[in-house]
């Protein structure tokens, strides 16, 4: 069975470590915050200038001057700090974020990622995505393994304009967790009940399949 969005977030959350500073993109990545293990603490960075993003505000706490990178009203946790955009991106671009989780349209065996524009459609802009992919050593891309029409998003070479080149090492899809090594996707885990054959069939880029591919440990 393909993972739900919540299960994808749960699987990503297993990569969190105590004391990690984490930037979560919009969509599935945002859900990761709901599954931080009880025994660790992480701090969320929002690239508009907030390190230590808290939960959404109550009606009483609502404050137009406190938003996240998705422009949602938020709160600051105890121990938060607020900075201007240059300082916020200094933090990102200087490699100080421990883990960045982002969505994508396509990823390829070279670690290239395309996530910001589809030619022919209106271009809305890359926001902070190019900075995030260029800045972090440790990025997990989350996306469905294939498009709705069944086309693989794990390619030999991205077809869409890139967000960054050679920067992605880990991909979690709805059916597999893979790492990018030496010009190939290496299949590390499969979603519960998903066969290796299905993953092979849905992966367009070079795929390395070890002898044993464990199922992910995900609550049903």
């Amino acid at each position: 069975m393909a993972l739900t969005r919540e299960q994808m977030a749960q699987r990503v959350a297993k990569e969190l470590e105590d004391g990690f500073y984490v930037n979560l993109g919009i969509g599935i990545p945002t859900l990761v915050a709901n599954y931080v293990p009880d025994n660790i603490e992480v701090m969320l960075q929002s690239e508009n200038g907030l390190l230590g993003m808290g939960q959404f505000p109550t009606e009483e706490e609502l404050d137009a001057d406190m938003i996240n990178a998705g422009k949602q009203t938020v709160t600051a946790m105890k121990g938060a700090s607020i900075m201007d955009s240059a300082e916020s991106f200094a933090m990102i671009r200087g490699g100080h974020i421990d883990l960045t989780v982002l969505g994508a349209f396509e990823v390829d065996v070279n670690g290239d990622i395309a996530s910001w524009m589809v030619p022919g459609k209106l271009i809305k802009g890359m926001g902070g995505a190019m900075d995030l992919v260029a800045g972090a050593d440790n990025i997990i891309v989350t996306m469905t393994h294939a498009s709705r029409s069944g086309e693989s998003k794990l390619l030999q070479k991205c077809t869409l304009p890139l967000t960054g080149a050679g920067c992605i090492k880990r991909v979690l899809t709805d059916i597999a967790y893979l790492e990018i090594e030496d010009g190939a996707f290496v299949l590390k885990e499969r979603a519960p009940g998903v066969s290796v054959e299905e993953i092979i069939a849905k992966t367009a880029g070079k795929l390395v399949v070890p002898d044993h591919v464990p199922e992910m440990d995900i609550p049903a």
Binding site: N48, G49, L62, S85, G125, M126, D131, T163, G164
Partner: protein, 232 residues
């Protein structure tokens, strides 16, 4: 003598000298921390053919979106412009030019403009469409591209509190691009919620020193919220 008193008495005076064809830097992220009254004054004033540098272009009917209504913006330099139907229409009709630049580059390019750095190398954007025509150079084993500074004829900035000397403190995430726009404007105009006497703000806590501020005005703000999200 007026010394360091940066206060002006009207929004009209605050934007005196802003002319057609100029480059305008605007603080704000989404609708958070935008100089909303200065933008409204530019609409009233009718200045045209502006190049506007701002992370976003407001929404329909508010913020920089107001300047689209009478086609006052010729070119927009931004990182994300997806919130605005009129923007989309003018872009598709070829009435508006847009230069998309990554958010971190936008911030750093304005800071560089204010800090006398004409260009710097960054990994952001390497291998992407925004690297086209830009110099690539390796440092260590990594490729970087050369990005140029941005300055503006005017910068419009929204602060929280300022003293009369133009020392500004921002509030929460309304800080965002405001201090950077303030650094990079030839004429920097700041509107705030409260003006206090020199000595009332802690010198260690000033975000924008008054040296960057040419004009200062106190306004009232709607502070519209773009994505109102609350927990129960």
């Amino acid at each position: 003598m007026s010394g360091f008193d940066k206060r002006v008495s009207s929004y009209e005076e605050a934007l005196e000298g802003l002319e057609d064809g100029m480059t305008l830097l605007a603080g704000g992220f989404g609708l958070c921390g935008i100089p909303e009254n200065l933008i409204a004054e530019i609409k009233r004033k009718g200045t045209r053919d502006l190049t506007v540098v701002s992370n976003n272009c407001g929404v329909d009917g508010f913020g920089l979106g107001l300047l689209l209504e009478d086609r006052q913006i010729q070119k927009m330099i931004a990182s994300y412009v997806g919130e605005n139907a009129l923007f989309e229409k003018q872009l598709l009709d070829g009435e508006l030019e847009v230069e998309l630049t990554p958010q971190g580059n936008l911030a750093e390019r304005m800071r560089a403009g204010g800090a006398g750095i004409p260009a710097f190398f960054t990994a952001t954007g390497y291998g992407t469409p925004i690297a086209e025509g830009k110099e690539v150079r390796e440092f260590g084993d990594r490729p970087y591209i050369l990005e140029a500074a941005i300055t503006g004829d005017f910068a419009i900035v929204k602060g929280w509190k300022a003293d009369t000397y133009g020392n500004v403190i921002y509030r929460h995430t309304a800080r965002n691009f405001n201090p950077l726009a303030a650094m990079a404007g030839k004429i920097t105009v700041v509107e705030v919620e409260e003006i206090v006497e020199p000595g009332e703000l802690d010198p260690d806590a000033i975000h924008t020193p008054g040296i960057y501020v040419n004009r200062l005005i106190c306004g009232t703000f709607e502070k519209r919220i773009e994505q109102r999200t609350v927990r129960s």
